[in-house]
Symmetry: C2
Subunit: 401 residues, 2 copies
């Protein structure tokens, strides 16, 4: 059996994702599509709109054969660590290929650029530092430094190009046997906020907005399983998971934290703790809060990740410990269909990382330690007794089928 890996967030799973899964299978001719999916929080530092179990169910219904978890310590990170973690998991599962969507659409360019980045690492790092000293953000400095090194390169200001580049780079760095492949994205830009009128593919951002403000029906843009799962979740749990809902917890937390405590939190650097502490006193919403704290250097995404780390109380020290090994230390199974199950049967004896279905066995693992805290913060907005039940779900949910 031949497997292809994809890296996803499915926040939520929509028609564009469906197309991507279908194209991936077609392009790679794989028997088994394996998705590694961000758990409770996403790479941009947002709570996923519904829990990983609901999102894994959507993935299965959308044609994915196997869904495994991308732990918080990789998921809520800059693109390089995000990609590194995802590649380490797909590689551990013996995927032969990794297929990602990109704005660019040509894998040769990705490979050439990634190769150059690996070879000229010091030179690129130095240029990034130079740009950052001028007060601009890491992402922008990264792109500028890359452009300086070679003008005929990838446009890494495009979100899926930069992620793709990091997947390919991680494959090279980890000496993985996976062959990278890309599918060109045609419609629905990543950051679009409005639903398109004449199409059935919309960005996840615009779908989440429509859900949050309850003013549009999203049925047209998502498979019916997604639609049903979202409706049922909302009805049962009474809320979506979005930053505004978590804002009271974040505000309470920031108000009672000492400056020194904030400084211990992952990704907090260069005095941002003072800006956070000062702004929170007057902020009545998450959006207001970030608008006040934002600068050229601190992008919205980076600030959202910092806020996520404050909410989950994940420290620099814990994060460093989780990254001692660089890659993943286990593979956690969230969902599988018959094909996925058969594939696992075939490969699990050769796997060098433990395949985990009962997380209790992982309680001494640094990556899982962070994952657990993230889950506990994630469910903290639910009303009782749903909150307490949701806490149990983390431990008691068997892989979905």
């Amino acid at each position: 059996m031949k497997a292809v890996g994809i890296v996803v967030e499915y926040n939520p799973f929509h028609n564009g994702h469906l197309y991507h899964v279908q194209q991936t299978r077609k392009k790679t001719n794989a028997d088994c599509v394996i998705a590694v999916m961000s758990s409770s929080f996403t790479q941009r530092g947002e709570p996923a709109i519904v829990p990983k179990w609901e999102r894994a169910r959507m993935a299965l219904a959308g044609g994915v054969d196997l869904v495994v978890e991308l732990p918080y310590s990789f998921a809520v990170q800059t693109a390089d660590r995000f990609a590194y973690g995802a590649v380490s998991i797909l590689d551990a599962l013996f995927c032969e290929q990794l297929c990602f969507g990109s704005e660019h659409g040509n894998i040769e360019t990705f490979m050439k650029t990634a190769q150059r980045l690996v070879e000229k690492k010091e030179q690129h790092d130095e240029k990034v530092k130079q740009y950052m000293r001028k007060g601009i953000s890491y992402a922008k400095a990264y792109a500028l430094a890359l452009y300086d090194m070679s003008h005929d390169t990838l446009d890494v200001s495009q979100p899926n190009n930069i992620l793709g580049l990091h997947y390919v780079k991680a494959i090279i760095e980890q000496r993985s046997h996976m062959i990278p492949e890309t599918i060109q994205r045609t419609v629905a830009h990543y950051h679009d906020t409005a639903l398109p009128i004449h199409a059935s593919i919309a960005s996840a951002t615009s779908i989440r907005r429509a859900l949050q403000f309850d003013h549009d029906d999203v049925a047209r843009y998502v498979p019916h399983t997604t639609y049903d799962t979202l409706q049922t979740y909302r009805k049962t749990y009474t809320t979506w998971h979005d930053w505004e809902t978590y804002f009271p917890l974040l505000k309470y937390r920031l108000l009672t934290m000492e400056i020194d405590d904030i400084r211990q939190i992952a990704e907090v650097e260069e005095g941002i703790e003072h800006r956070l502490k000062k702004a929170i006193v007057h902020a009545t919403s998450f959006h207001d809060f970030l608008s006040v704290v934002k600068t050229k250097r601190y992008t919205w995404t980076r600030l959202q990740r910092i806020c996520t780390h404050i909410l989950t109380n994940v420290t620099k020290k814990e994060m460093a410990k989780a990254h001692e090994n660089k890659g993943a230390t286990y593979v956690r199974l969230l969902a599988m269909n018959e094909t996925g199950r058969a594939y696992l049967q075939a490969v699990k004896k050769q796997m060098t990382l433990p395949l985990v279905t009962n997380v209790k066995q992982m309680r001494h693992d640094a990556i899982y330690h962070i994952e657990k805290k993230a889950t506990q913060a994630y469910v903290s907005i639910l009303p009782e007794p749903l909150w307490t039940e949701a806490l149990q779900r983390e431990y008691k949910t068997p892989p979905l089928r």
Copy 2:
């Protein structure tokens, strides 16, 4: 002008408190009655049902001439520290007498017992330790050790007797010139939970219960200013301040805290952090939670104080710093009438502690540092924009008149 000091919580101010103020004035013949009042949280480790400003207004209407704050670092403490802080503040205001209500009612017994405790401190301390080693609570050990030293003594299992004893002891220890005085309490036991049918005096506990469960009218048991203030508060702020309302914040906090973090919190000792961490996962209410954690050694009151310190994030280290000076480092004015104002005019030049109306000047003070955190946690249950407004109140409210 002659002043008498009283130590109060007014949670909320009721007819029994009114009677106490009147009797205090009568018995001591004082011109000015000064109340030192717990700020946002009480000695038993509960959030005060309404903020200090509302409770100070009730006190003025009830005949108190001057209301000053008993800071959190003294208020949310065992009886000895509570009394020590209160006495240091009343002494700084040159009260000639201190008058407390007690079950016993005879000041001679208090003075004799306190004197013996001061003289035989080591002996008593040693006996307390012996009893505690048997696994019983500090309060019970304290009472047993006292009984061992002299059988003809005060019944310190009565809550107002033990507080009174500590006031008198603190007066002796601080070499204060204040003369202690006591008024016998006749009706309404401290811990009564039901409102009495044929009386107009009820315990504060029973009044709070009636308010929280909305099933009884409390008008009969409180002065009309209390009644109006409570009604207005509830209407404006949509909630009372009680533990069940804070429970989601406490639960979120405990879930995302590390065992080591909990160990840093004030009053956390002897492994209780493990019990707390374990029990919180399954607890759907504050009452359930404490019922599971409670043991013979850890009394309900002590656990409530620990939970308060977790909620406010007050550490052992911060608490130790606040107590370096033993007594108060400032006197914060909450409310005064004409008599109170005239009294302050007469004494303020002789005062050795700063008289504070603008707390911004106290921002480097260790006691105020804790007070500020407590206020920030206290307002964290309010809906926006009331929450943000309430945060400002801490800094902007001038002393009430």
